[in-house]
């Protein structure tokens, strides 16, 4: 339905480069990327707020690249929701309908229906400033859906909510989607949203869309080291594979599947276990390593290790650091399962 072809745009510190992808009707398409990747700029280019330097955008086969935002039929929900502070919740939701000169009775019926599905019927008389973050988000969605847009453009819709509200609203959004049947293009940096809501996901790094595919596929088979790193594979090890064994700088790592030649594998630091004695378990990959350094990361500590000639980093809890007496120079055992090794 939406087709984005080779969009490039330089805007402030953001540089979009040859962005090409398409969204199918009824799909929930997630663009996942770190902050600063240019996700918002891409959304605003699609919404018609920013003109691209080059490239085209098609909606149902029609070129909409040159159309102003009001002629596109795409509803945009920015990260801060941008509710109109000078209007009541009712008037916010009704805004697009009033602009279209829809009869008053129909507007009231439509607002009532939407606000019931979204559970905001009791808020219609309130001003946006008096609403909680979660309520504001629902109002913004109702306002966007009221005009029955071809496509909903969502910019980090859950970023401004507290942890508990976020979890609840992600689940509710699945329900709204079923009941109201919309198509969504949703940009976010949150893996949780991508996994929880996405039908397909596009990974965006430094202004480029580097991998597009089904969510599980992207997470389990990142196409490049860059994507792997973004998806949390901090340990990237290069070596020569032979059968199910990878030889890398003095280590022999068991692989989850057969491979051959020079390959790279990724291991998430949270999948690496540290212990004082070699672990007697199903973990096939166990090595002796030396602690090089520690970095506190809030609740976790990142332990930098050297095993053979390979540098590894592992996440452990603060109490493990005290218990194992981790400190630079200490030798420990590191272990990870073959299934934690991702080949790309």
């Amino acid at each position: 339905m939406l087709e984005v072809r080779e969009i490039s745009k330089d805007y402030r510190e953001f540089h979009l480069r040859d962005i090409t992808f398409s969204v199918k009707r009824g799909e929930h398409f997630i663009i996942l990327g770190p902050s600063g990747a240019g996700k918002t700029v891409l959304l605003e280019v699609i919404a018609g707020i920013i003109a691209p330097d080059s490239g085209k955008i098609f909606l149902n086969g029609e070129d909409i690249t040159g159309l102003p935002p009001e002629k596109r039929g795409l509803a945009y929900i920015p990260q801060n929701y941008a509710l109109f502070p000078n209007m009541s919740v009712f008037d916010n939701i009704a805004f697009g309908l009033k602009v279209r000169k829809v009869p008053k009775a129909e507007i009231e019926w439509k607002v009532k229906e939407l606000s019931e599905v979204l559970g905001i019927s009791h808020l219609l008389g309130r001003k946006p400033k008096t609403l909680s973050g979660g309520e504001q988000q629902r109002v913004a969605i109702a306002r966007a859906l009221a005009v029955e847009p071809e496509l909903l453009l969502l910019d980090e819709p859950f970023a401004n909510l507290d942890v508990q509200t976020r979890g609840r609203l992600i689940n509710e959004m699945k329900r709204w989607k079923k009941e109201l049947g919309f198509t969504a293009l949703h940009v976010t940096h949150s893996f949780e949203e991508a996994v929880g809501l996405g039908d397909r996901v596009g990974v965006m790094l430094n202004g480029r869309l580097v991998q597009v595919g089904a969510v599980r596929e992207v997470f389990s088979r990142p196409v490049s080291e860059e994507v792997a790193r973004f998806l949390g594979f901090e340990n990237i090890i290069e070596g020569l594979a032979e059968g199910r064994i990878l030889r890398a700088n003095g280590l022999m790592i068991e692989l989850p599947a057969e491979a051959s030649g020079k390959i790279r594998v990724g291991i998430r630091p949270e999948d690496i276990v540290l212990s004082d004695e070699p672990l007697r378990s199903s973990m096939r990959n166990t090595f002796r390593a030396e602690v090089v350094g520690l970095e506190e990361l809030g609740l976790l500590v990142r332990v930098r290790l050297k095993a053979g000639g390979v540098e590894l980093s592992a996440f452990v809890t603060r109490s493990s650091v005290l218990e194992l007496g981790l400190d630079a120079g200490k030798n420990v055992w590191v272990g990870f399962k073959a299934s934690a090794v991702h080949v790309f």
Binding site: A47, P69, A75, I77, G96, V147, P149
Partner: protein
């Protein structure tokens, strides 16, 4: 903390310097109510105050008509020469008032000489910056995303401006317009050159002072300062 006390003592001088004359003019006039009453019935005075109010109001309306769009453009668009335009907006504050009069007369000559047009022309030159800057700041405070969202919902830019930006910037624009009004009604120097007639209250004060002395001009001053302070209190 002796340094602070010294500073406070020095600072109080300026505060007193502003407050005392205002107080004194009211107090002295209070002991001469007869003259105040007489002045309020003087048809010249009434006419002049009327002229001042009308021209200042007309000036504020013109400043709104042109200044609000200008403020919007300055808030929303980058264009080559924007910084020059910004600087030009602030220029009238530093030009001597009599020079403003000469410049306007040189430019528009007899078409503004001694007419309401002339009064308004002088007032507009010195007071328009307040409306422009207030409108610009008001629109800058309106999140551009609000307009963007309104447009994706189907509103034209004009509709988005009317429904969202203008209502939200209203209080800033209103206080800018009031400042414009106050600055307009305070102008003397430029008006003296461009339009001695029709007589405005500011000019009449000067004329009564020259012809009849302080006692005759003081009541008009009291009326005008009451007007100005009233406006000021509304603004705060």
């Amino acid at each position: 903390d002796y340094t602070l006390y010294l500073f406070a003592a020095l600072g109080s001088f300026l505060i007193a310097y502003i407050a005392v004359p205002i107080a004194v003019v009211f107090i002295k006039q209070a002991s001469d109510v007869g003259m105040l009453v007489k002045t309020l019935h003087d048809p010249y005075v009434v006419e002049a105050v009327r002229n001042s109010l009308l021209t200042a109001t007309a000036t504020a309306l013109i400043a709104l008509l042109f200044g609000v769009p200008l403020g919007y453009v300055l808030a929303r668009r980058d264009f080559p020469g924007k910084s020059v335009v910004q600087a030009l907006v602030d220029v009238p504050i530093v030009i001597p008032h009599s020079v403003v009069g000469i410049m306007l007369l040189v430019t528009f000559s007899s078409s503004i000489l001694d007419s309401y047009r002339g009064i308004i022309a002088a007032m507009l030159f010195v007071s328009a910056p307040f409306t422009i800057n207030a409108a610009r700041d008001g629109f800058l405070a309106v999140d551009e995303k609000l307009e963007a969202v309104a447009r994706t919902l189907g509103a034209s830019r004009w509709r988005a401006f009317l429904s969202i930006s203008l209502p939200m910037a209203f209080s800033s624009i209103a206080s800018g317009a009031i400042m414009t009004w106050a600055r307009a009604i305070s102008e003397v120097g430029a008006i003296l050159i461009v339009a001695y007639y029709p007589k405005t209250a500011q000019v009449l004060i000067l004329e009564y002072f020259n012809n009849y002395g302080l006692r005759a001009s003081r009541p008009i001053a009291v009326v005008m300062v009451s007007l100005s302070l009233g406006i000021f209190v509304i603004l705060r």
